[in-house]
């Protein structure tokens, strides 16, 4: 990729005695679409605020284009932000909102008009200049916020859960819109979200965070296919996470049964976490299965059935198009590339068991509806 633009080096943020960011190291390349992904309170918004200049790290350095910029106030940074609830100025109309930054910079009137109009065209809001902010829909306000930030031609655009307040369909539209704008204008985007689908769909690079620490950095494919630990595996998509023992390179033992896998480089007989994605499991007649279990619950999801299967007291989620009635005995088969082996971590044993299936699933569903809690959680 291209050159490095922003570097956070060993950044620590403490509020009172609470550690919000724990020795964070991160670099962001020019023209990259980078997403900070994690649950509420993971430190992603804090990281964004450090880049924006709204917050100084308790210790550690921030570099912008090679220059240390810890103490540069927000108004002097070549960075603009799209805020969570847009933070548009209610007393100004669309045009003046977008023109705000240019007016402050004392850009001549003619140029202001030209640049604002260009930007409104980019975000598909031509003809809305005279409207008051209050007369816009959520999606339109969103575009104004983006235009207002981009019109200043920042080197980096920071987006703090910009789609959180939109409904599902609009969110999908805006995702591709944002990606299009980013590519068209060739600007670095740093995007904060707790929605893994959003992160996977738009990003060049995804940074998964939890507890003030970076859990994994990688392309969306890396993150999904090669999660580094149980947290990442669980947070990105659905995962069955099992205790296993690495018997040899390419051989992992689960439930006293050996499975072929593609991973290697572990010590012999090392205890490991094994991730098996629900869609990578094939259901076969009981007699043909590598493992045998009982179906305890089936939920119709449209494209597939969510089937919960009890294997030796451990419940798995399996996504399959085949309907298996509750209480039926089934067998499963897993291809070697469906098995992903991870080193044990602090998160081992915390995730990946579907015995409390319904609650956990609901919780994940709920998270996307509560971006507000996240905001206030990070601020306090």
């Amino acid at each position: 990729m291209s050159k490095e633009l922003i570097r956070l080096s060993d950044c620590v943020v403490k509020f009172d005695d609470e550690i919000i960011l724990d020795h964070l190291n991160l670099y962001i390349n020019d023209k990259e679409f980078l997403t900070l992904l994690g649950p509420s309170g993971c430190g992603k918004t804090t990281t964004l605020r450090i880049i924006g200049g709204f917050l100084s790290p308790t210790s550690g350095d921030v570099f912008f284009d090679g220059q240390r910029c810890n103490d540069v106030p927000p108004h002097k940074r070549q960075v603009n932000t799209v805020f969570q609830k847009y933070a548009l100025f209610p007393h100004l109309n669309v045009f003046e909102n977008v023109a705000f930054g240019l007016r402050i910079a004392k850009v001549p009137d003619g140029e202001v008009t030209q640049r604002v109009m260009e930007m409104l065209e980019v975000v598909n809001l031509k003809g809305f200049e005279r409207r008051p902010i209050s007369a816009l829909s959520g999606g339109q306000q969103q575009r104004v916020a983006i235009a207002r930030a981009l019109v200043n031609r920042p080197k980096v655009l920071l987006l703090d859960e910009p789609l959180g307040a939109l409904d599902m369909r609009l969110r999908k539209d805006m995702q591709s819109e944002l990606k299009r704008i980013q590519q068209e204008l060739e600007i670095t985007f740093v995007y904060v979200t707790h929605d893994q689908e959003e992160a996977l769909a738009m990003s060049d690079t995804v940074v998964v965070m939890d507890g003030g620490l970076i859990q994994q950095i990688g392309t969306p494919e890396d993150i999904y296919n090669e999660p580094k630990n149980a947290f990442v595996a669980d947070f990105i998509g659905e995962s069955n996470i099992l205790d296993g023992i690495m018997r040899a390179d390419g051989v992992v033992e689960i439930f006293n049964r050996r499975f072929q896998c593609l991973d290697g480089g572990f010590a012999k007989d090392e205890p490991v976490d094994v991730v098996i994605r629900p869609e990578d499991v094939d259901i076969v007649p009981e007699t043909e299965g590598q493992l045998r279990g009982t179906v305890t619950q089936v939920t119709f999801k449209g494209v597939h059935y969510d089937t919960i299967v009890d294997f030796y007291g451990f419940k798995w989620l399996i996504q399959t198009t085949d309907y298996c009635p509750v209480d039926s005995r089934i067998g499963i088969k897993i291809d070697p590339d469906g098995i992903h082996v991870m080193k044990k971590s602090a998160y081992s044993g915390m995730f990946g068991d579907y015995s409390s299936y319904s609650e956990e699933y609901d919780e994940i569903g709920d998270a996307s509806l509560a971006p507000d809690e996240e905001g206030s959680g990070d601020e306090e």
Binding site: F83, A87, F89, H91, R131, A135
Partner: protein
Amino acid sequence: MKKQNRVGSRLLIGLVFLFLYAPILLLIIFSFNAGDSNVVWRGFSLDWYGKLFQNRLIMESVYMTLLVSILATVISTVAGTFAAIGLFGLKRRWRNPLMTVSNIPTVNADIVTGVSLCLLFGACFMTWGRFAAWFNDVQSVVELPERLTMGFVTLLLAHIAFDIPYVILNVAPKLRQMDKNLIDAAQDLGCTWMQAFWKVILPEIKPGVVSGALIAFTMSVDDFVISYFTAGSSTSTLAMAIYGMTKKRVSPEINAVSTLLFITVLVLLILSNVLEARQEKLAERRAEMKPMPQRRPILPPVVRRPWFRRTVAGVCACSLVLVVGALAAATGSRPVVNVCSWGEYIDEDLITQFEEETGIRVNYQTAESNETLYSLLKSGGGDYDVVVPSDYMISQLIEEDMLAELDYDQIPNFSLIDPQFRNLPYDPENKYTVPYAWGTVGIIYNSTMVDEEITSWSAMFDPKYAGKVMLINNSRDALGIALKYLGYSLNTTDEGEIREAYQLLVDATDGGVYAGKIMDEVFQVMEGGNAAIATYYAGDYLTMLENNEDLRFVIPEEGSNWFVDAMCILKDARHPAEAHAWINFMASTDAALANMDYIWYGTANSEAIAQYPDYYLENYGEELDQETFDIIQTPPEVLERCEMYLVLPKETRELYKSLWIKLGV
């Protein structure tokens, strides 16, 4: 059934509103009365409004009120807005308790705020005094003033102090409604914090700031109690001036000024409500999210008006400078004399005349009673040079060494004082005083309500007039009447005599003679013909006579009290030379004539006494009625029967007090 209920509730609402607004309505109506009574309607006139604008005391206090209110409003609005923003930026743990604390002053009793501010200023001044004394001791380059007194600055500080919470209270909700990210957003787009404040925060919270300022202004204009405790003696606001004027009676001038005050406050309140309503409507329209019709799809260049804001800022700054300049001119280095007298006790043209002649500015204040004046002087709250107490109070002040000996060389007009009014019992060697005015106490009666000519105090105790007599509401005068009737001295210390007099009052009270005990209300009661007999001062009788020709005045044959109010200079007066000039001026024949004609109390200037009938003829084109003149200037043979009050010994004062309380119960 239901209908009846509705009629009933409407009636009730009507009554409530009547109860609420009838007094104000009455006040407004009587401010247009042609006569000077508050009871008798003599036709429509705008005279009182005209007089109002010529009334120096009121106009000065209006100026002072506006000055203090505007300055306090401006300062407290700025301070309160930033304080609210500061509070808003705090963590919730701190913000909520601090908000509560900052709101307490708005619900705190004014009297508590006033007294505590008064104490605080007092303590500060004392500390400063010590520091200044020490500082002046150790060096001689700069001379610091050692004695500070309350005045404009303390008044302004007090107003700012009680205005700020109202501003915070109005701004805080607007801040809470504001998206906190707006500030971040503005800074993100290149604003410094100050730019963000002007361009984003201020437009958002403007309605709160405006209504906060309006309420602060209203509160400032309206305030009496706190001002009373913090203004000192040299400054007085409109409310204080009105209060001072009521000492004698509620003059229609007060009606006029109160009407104007009421209307001003009303307008301000309506203004702030309209603003709020408009804001709400706007917010509602926003909430409806009605897409606005697009009139001009092609970009209209947005008009920017930096000149507008600059002009406004310029005008504001200029007016502030003007105000401060005017203040400096008003309180500047001109010589000044601080006078404390009684309400409606001077022809104010004399003040102007004195100022023009001498270039000395007169700061003319009024007290309500001798006792108030005394406590003011004692507490150090007064910064007066000249005071005009009554006889018995003068002896008390002399006794307590609070008066300065006068330099009569500086008061050549003292030679005009009639010998009859020199070396009076309160100042036997005449070292401290120059008489200002004097008068007598007598019976005022309505000739249509009694069938005989009253000549004796007996009328005050006669069961024949049961329910028609008004007793004067202070112990010295009431018991004095009884003492005189019994043939004793007003200044007796004999407990038996005093108790005998008391018994007389008790019997009359039990016999239902007295319809009530009153002081200033006597004007309305007697003018309106609501009582037949009352005891009051001669000069005031003449005022009543103008509104009710049936009234008569008599100094009973048993004799009565006569009193002298005399000008004295306080020992710690800061402007003794100016004070002497003022006393000399007031003692002059011209001043005495004008003043006598205005207040209808007697003068001690022998030339003025002799010239008054001619003066009257010249000014009014008719002969002065001898009877009237005798009431103003009681003839010596009548005066012989009268006694002056002396300071009573402490135990006698206590006896008076306890008997008076018993009588009241």
